[in-house]
């Protein structure tokens, strides 16, 4: 089953988007960030989960865009939505009470316990090495959705032992910290990268549970900034199907 890189007819980014799309199932309410999460969610809606409910923080409930939205506030999201609401209403009436099943987030840095940094790189907040965009909706998405899925390109720079800044709380330093803080959602239960899939173990530490086609464990270790645990039941991500690839490419080509 293992394909070598040479034989692959798809990119690792495509594999990542397809693996992320597969994690979603029909009827779920999904809070979607722009970029990789939006691509994956729209792919899922176009393939196996046509009744997936997409919620965008710009104020759309149940958007059904016919192409990938260019931004979180793309007009097509409002035009195809079941309801358009104000931004305060999105956060207060729909996200905060726990009405959303899956919060789909990206990350600049992600750590061993699924904490997310999108704020600053470097130790000094006042004088950062790199100033990133910041929090946006993520802290409360991470707090209030029933589960959080993270999609991120994996490297030693992005997969770190401890994030420089906790923008969105994952499992803290593990061992039930979420419950102690009174957070209601389960936090990151799934991390999908261009190399594989990770799930938290009972302590909250991310463990490699699945390898994408053509990827070996050693490659993943090299792209991970901590001493990586590998699940004893490590499995292989099935390669993208023709339909998945074609649908993804059509989505990305449509303007």
């Amino acid at each position: 089953m293992t394909a070598t890189t040479e034989e692959r007819t798809y990119t690792s980014d495509e594999m990542m988007s397809i693996a992320a799309a597969r994690a979603l199932s029909g009827g779920q309410r999904c809070f979607v960030g722009i970029g990789l999460p939006s691509t994956a969610a729209n792919l899922a809606r176009r393939t196996h989960a046509p009744d997936l409910v997409l919620v965008y923080e710009s104020g759309t409930l149940g958007s059904k865009p016919g192409r990938l939205p260019a931004s979180i506030g793309d007009g097509i999201l409002a035009e195809t939505a079941d309801a358009v609401i104000s931004v305060p209403e999105v956060f207060n009436y729909w996200l905060q009470p726990g009405r959303i099943d899956i919060g789909f987030l990206g990350a600049a840095q992600l750590d061993r316990f699924g904490n997310i940094n999108t704020t600053v790189i470097g130790d000094d907040y006042a004088h950062p090495k790199v100033r990133l965009p910041g929090a946006g909706g993520a802290p409360e998405i991470a707090a209030s959705c029933r589960e959080v899925y993270v999609v991120v390109r994996q490297s030693k720079r992005s997969f770190v032992e401890k994030v420089d800044f906790i923008t969105s709380f994952g499992h803290g330093r593990g061992h039930g910290e979420r419950e102690k803080l009174g957070l209601r959602g389960a936090g990151p239960t799934l991390v999908i990268t261009d190399l594989g899939v990770f799930r938290p173990d009972e302590t909250g530490e991310l463990v490699l549970t699945q390898l994408h086609e053509g990827v070996e464990v050693e490659q993943v270790r090299e792209a991970t900034g901590w001493d990586l645990k590998v699940s004893p039941e490590l499995s292989r991500t099935p390669a993208p199907t023709e339909t998945e690839l074609q649908t993804l490419r059509e989505l990305k080509a449509a303007k």
């Binding site: 923080e57 104020g59 260019a70 965009p133 009174g182």
Partner: protein, 272 residues
């Protein structure tokens, strides 16, 4: 009752040096024309407030109008970084920029509190994050009924809020549709407000999903056709996605930015 003014006069009258100014519009209806008019009038020491300080604030920050930024997400949406914002934060260029950083939920609720005449808002937010360590406008509050701990954020009450809308009638009633973001809250929270519109019409024909701001809740209305570009105005024109890419090349370097500023903002002075 809102006064209908030319944009130049409206900005001159409503926006002063040192003011706290909110330009709102969540991807849709971003008041770019008003932002550039503020630059053209060389306002200084502004505290700029905005959930998503995208290109519109990259321009104001790069032009040196801002002393402080209150925000929740500072990127070029769909493209990447705001280079002028980064240059200001990382290198204090052209002037130092103080920041006050929140989440979207926090900012939205700060506007809601401001619009509601309350001094603060309560939310489930920020828990476990590093934001409260660096932002002193995030505190905790205890529910007097359940004892639960929640986050509290202070109201935002800008000196002036600026938004862009599709239409106003001659009496100054404003009509907005499509994504409405936090525009109503931003206007109602502010001491003064300016609404730029695509057009002033005799009669506001009802549109599904419309939001109406009555004239008596707005200080001034200014006609600014295409005033949201490169953002969009539903029913009028689409988002200019290529401009967002183009901005990345302009904003990336101080030289190209200053050239843009001279040509496209200050150079247009006579035209206004």
């Amino acid at each position: 009752m809102a006064e209908i003014l030319p944009l130049r006069d409206a900005v001159a009258r409503l926006v002063h040096d040192g003011d706290t100014v909110a330009l709102e519009g969540f991807t849709h209806l971003i008041p770019h024309a008003a932002g550039q008019e503020i630059i053209r009038q060389r306002r200084k020491d502004l505290t700029l407030v905005r959930m998503t300080p995208d290109i519109v604030y990259d321009q104001l920050i790069g032009a040196g109008c801002a002393r402080k930024l209150v925000f929740s997400w500072g990127g070029n949406p769909g493209v990447g970084s705001l280079h002028r914002f980064r240059d200001a934060v990382q290198n204090s260029w052209p002037v130092p920029l103080e920041i006050e950083e929140h989440s979207h939920a926090g900012m939205a609720n700060r506007y809601v509190a401001g619009a509601s005449g309350l001094p603060f808002a309560v939310l489930r937010g920020y828990t476990g994050t590093d934001l409260p360590k660096h932002t002193d406008t995030i505190k905790q509050i205890t529910c007097p009924f359940t004892g639960e701990q929640l986050a509290a954020v202070p109201a935002l009450n800008p000196d002036v809020s600026v938004i862009h809308a599709q239409r106003a009638d001659r009496a100054g009633n404003v009509q907005i549709w499509g994504l409405v973001g936090v525009q109503k809250e931003a206007v109602l929270a502010a001491k003064r407000s300016l609404v730029t519109v695509e057009e002033v019409v005799d009669e506001l024909e009802p549109v599904p999903g419309q939001l109406i701001l009555p004239s008596w809740a707005v200080t001034a209305v200014a006609e600014a056709p295409h005033g949201a570009h490169p953002s969009y105005a539903q029913g009028y024109y689409d988002r200019d996605n290529e401009y967002y890419e183009y901005w990345d090349s302009i904003g990336r370097n101080r030289d190209s930015f200053e050239q843009w500023l001279n040509e496209k903002v200050f150079g247009m002075e006579a035209a206004k």
